[in-house]
């Protein structure tokens, strides 16, 4: 790996993370002792994140990226593998007294700015809640101060005008900023952003993304950016990890992955993303079919049923991530 595990710089380390969801067999199935089946949502994911970097976790539906994020945050129990945050095991911390401390340092932003907010809470309540839960405010005045600062940092200015409003009175972009402010008020080290802009109008997406980048630049917040939209990830991230059926198939610096993709899936994805340029004629590699369900996985390489350059060995051997150049790794038998 590019980053040396255990070094001071590493904020997050994920090792061989698995998250499986059992499928109910029903009474008949249990009695008949049918074999247990699982949804292999996350099936062997490993990567590191250095302080202050923006890593994009890119994948289509069924790739497991959102499940991975929730497991990393400790909101789901991993089935196997470890998640180390500042060299401490997240699953262990979540069940210990340091639970609250962990929560302070890892925050999440969701895709749907409507659903992420309690419609009964005012803007002030929403941002004050983390402060109250963590008992961070020395007094009411201190609380109000912190809330205003968070609002300002998130770009909701002038902050005083927003305090008593309800989410329904805000636009989508403003709501998303509110969610960001509520996350910021705790001064987290790691921010997981799960599709933060895909439900916002194109003309305001850049604002939110630029805000997130500013948070990294000015406050050193590490950002895990989860999305299906390679195009925004291209503009926004330092490194990219492409996921398919629960595993990372390619990971490396964003520019490298975009210009020199090694995995056939990455290549196909990049070739079909619509670009706003009608004169651009490129060879589109349109894969057949859709991502298979993560229950009955293909043998060997998971991608082999759809791979345009598959050869025989791919059906039997599952490739692992291997370096093709410094910092750039691919899980493909061809490379």
């Amino acid at each position: 790996m590019e980053h040396k595990p255990g070094s001071e710089n590493i904020v997050l380390q994920v090792n061989h993370l698995h998250k499986l969801f059992p499928i109910s067999r029903g009474i008949v199935g249990s009695l008949a002792r049918r074999p247990k089946r699982f949804v292999h949502a996350v099936d062997g994911v490993s990567f590191c994140m250095a302080k202050g970097e923006i890593l994009g976790l890119v994948g289509e539906s069924g790739s497991g990226k959102s499940t991975a994020a929730l497991t990393i945050l400790g909101l789901l129990e991993p089935t196997e593998g470890e998640v180390l945050f500042n060299n401490q095991s997240v699953p262990e911390l979540v069940h210990s007294r340091q639970r609250l401390q962990l929560r302070r340092q890892m925050q999440i932003i969701f895709q749907d700015p409507y659903e992420a907010l309690n419609p009964r809470q005012t803007v002030f309540d929403t941002i004050a809640e983390p402060l109250e839960v963590h008992r961070l405010a020395a007094s009411q005045a201190d609380k109000a101060e912190r809330v205003m600062v968070a609002l300002g940092t998130a770009g909701l200015k002038p902050p005083e005008t927003f305090l008593e409003r309800y989410p329904q009175e805000l636009s989508g972009g403003q709501r998303q900023r509110l969610v960001i402010a509520a996350a910021l008020v705790l001064n987290p080290q790691l921010l997981v952003a799960d599709e933060p802009v895909s439900m916002l109008d194109v003309s305001i997406r850049a604002d939110i993304l630029n805000l997130l980048r500013q948070l990294r630049d000015e406050h050193g917040i590490t950002i895990l950016y989860i999305t299906h939209d390679l195009a925004t990830a291209a503009h926004f991230t330092d490194r990219l990890a492409v996921m398919y059926l629960g595993r990372i198939v390619e990971i490396g610096p964003t520019a490298t992955v975009l210009h020199d993709p090694q995995h056939p899936y990455t290549q196909a994805l990049l070739s079909v993303i619509p670009v706003p340029n009608p004169r651009k004629r490129r060879k589109r590699v349109i894969l057949k079919g859709e991502t298979p369900n993560p229950i009955d996985l293909p043998s060997g390489c998971r991608f082999h049923p759809r791979c345009p350059v598959v050869f025989d060995q791919c059906r039997h051997v599952e490739p692992t991530l291997a370096s093709v150049s410094p910092g750039h790794q691919v899980a493909c038998l061809r490379s």
């Binding site: 969610v179 509520a182 109008d201």
Partner: protein, 322 residues
Amino acid sequence: MHIIDIWRAFRRRPMAMVGLFMLLAVVFVAVFAPWLAPYDPHESIDVTAADILAPPDADHLLGRDDAGKDVLSLLIYGARISLLVGFTASFMSIIIGTTVGLTAGYYGGRVGNTLMRVTDFLMVIPTLPLMLVIISVWGRGIEKIVLVIGILYWTYTARLVRSQVLSVKERKFVLRSRAIGTGHFRIISRHIFPQVLPLIIAQAVLDISTAIIAESSLAFLGLGDPTAISWGMMLNFAFERAISRMAWWFLLPPGIAIVWVSLSLVLIGTAIEDIVNPRLRTHHLFDARKMIARVVGGGAGSPDETLGSGPSSGVEAGEVAG
């Protein structure tokens, strides 16, 4: 929805307002009974044979009952009993049902399953026969009746609350709150309960009606409290003693009163239920109301989203983009 929104929507429904006025009339009568009733039914009076089941006349607008008492006064004071039983029994069953539902829904697992099995068990038992048995064995008394009704009628609320909690629990703002580190109690009280409350209110109103009918049934079957003459008891006496004489003035008024109050509560309750449980009233291709709501408004309030873009949004239909 906020209470004020519910009230506004309520005001627009004629049947709901009719129900409300009907209920307020009964409440008024119950509260001002001592002033409204021409006689005090608790006073003992001298009666002659001619007074027994006397038909209506100028002094007694609804005639007299089998003990010579004024039916109208009995009716007016009866309102107190009915409303008292209705409100307290309903309140009790709502408290029990909500607690069970919240706990079962939020915690799930063994606790939830056990609670739900208990609920199912109670739900399956026919309540009226069970109440009859309990009251017969335990003895009469208005408090006992209230308790019995309260303890047996919470099952529907519990199921309702539990299913609502299950769905609210999965909403993103609850997950976000968990991610912040919020504890269980705060999540339940601040995030889940407010979403469940409107449904509880609707159910509470309907429960009052159920309770009143339950009490009336018990009283009608002879298990009422003889010191608190309710409409049900009036019916009981009327059936036993007045039918042979065709004394309709004793028979009809309590029956009509019970129907009146139940109807009012049902009208109110179903209206609230309808308001807080919005079914989609959308055009099959396009939600004009939603769109209008979104593009109307001043400056910063106007929304600017393209919704539903991105497969991670699940299987939601993309919302209207204009």
